[in-house]
């Protein structure tokens, strides 16, 4: 697939077919892509936790905060929840800060997920203390991002932004609309 198509199809998905399980190998393959991505000063301070059993997914789910702009929606219900997670941690024994390493690897992983017919959402709104406790994450590791993955069951439509309003929204048919700024607003001339 051309990268342009892959990037276009890598939307943030928040509802999944919960009957579609993700195997270990798939998640490991995605971390293998992250492994080969750039890292500030090549320090490679990121570590990854992978989860794909229903029991583990249930342990993780309650710590995640979903779709802040959708006020009437508290996140995916039973049957539509993610079936795999990759938790990105920063190893404080390797580096004090992690720059944008986790942005670099998260995007790589999400593009890889799309290629495998999956989709998901990078989640930074996390109840970190709760997640640390529920997953027994040692203090050595900073919790940076959770990537929620599954087989998407929602339709995401990219719109051009109107009146500067960046809020995504759902229409009456359940389509998820994401307003994006036009290219000529992003490339500035000085």
């Amino acid at each position: 697939m051309k990268l342009k198509d892959l990037v276009f199809r890598t939307r943030s998905y928040r509802r999944f077919d919960e009957s579609h399980l993700i195997d270990n190998k798939t998640l490991e393959d995605l971390v293998a892509l992250a492994r080969l991505s750039a890292s500030g000063a090549n320090r490679q301070p990121l570590k990854y936790l992978i989860y794909n059993t229903p029991v583990d997914c249930e342990r993780l789910f309650p710590s995640l905060i979903w779709a802040a702009y959708l006020k009437e929606w508290c996140g995916p219900g039973h049957g539509e929840r993610p079936t795999g997670y990759i938790v990105i941690l920063g190893d404080k024994e390797i580096a004090e800060g992690f720059g944008v390493d986790h942005g670099i690897t998260a995007q790589t992983i999400m593009l890889g997920a799309t290629e495998k017919g999956l989709g998901g959402c990078m989640i930074a709104s996390i109840m970190k203390d709760k997640l640390r406790e529920d997953l027994n994450i040692p203090e050595r590791f900073e919790i940076l991002l959770v990537l929620a993955l599954g087989k998407p069951v929602e339709n995401v439509i990219v719109d051009e932004i109107k009146d500067g309003d960046v809020k995504y929204w759902r229409d009456e048919k359940g389509n998820h609309h994401v307003p994006k700024r036009p290219l000529n607003e992003l490339i500035i001339k000085l």
Copy 2:
């Protein structure tokens, strides 16, 4: 190209064929990929400056700090310098912080560059005050990353890390070696 190959080929390159020019359309296409990448709370606070003329490239080059681990090398000499740059800015009128948005879009752009037969380096070590002055960047914008681009003329070899030493190095033939941690060190079990 499979994403795995694209990621593998997206190495950090620091020496280029300076006779290979990059046109505006190529740089705009790369920002168009960035446009469709995820952004925290969909705020899309990033702006992009693109440069591709020899005069502009000369204005930018002196503010960049190259390859800190190569103590005897001060960066690419004349004839081997980048022929295109994308400067990623954070628009402080849109957001106070930029999370890892620039990591997400930088990786997307670098993957796109590889697909187009180009390569380059994400540079965070920047003399920002100098760059701001030389390019007349208003205070409204935070300088986040510079992506240096060109047609690579160096060979980069990915090695498995030895004794935890993350420093990249050049062998006597000029090959650039990058030690990467093995996958089983990145995926941790709790």
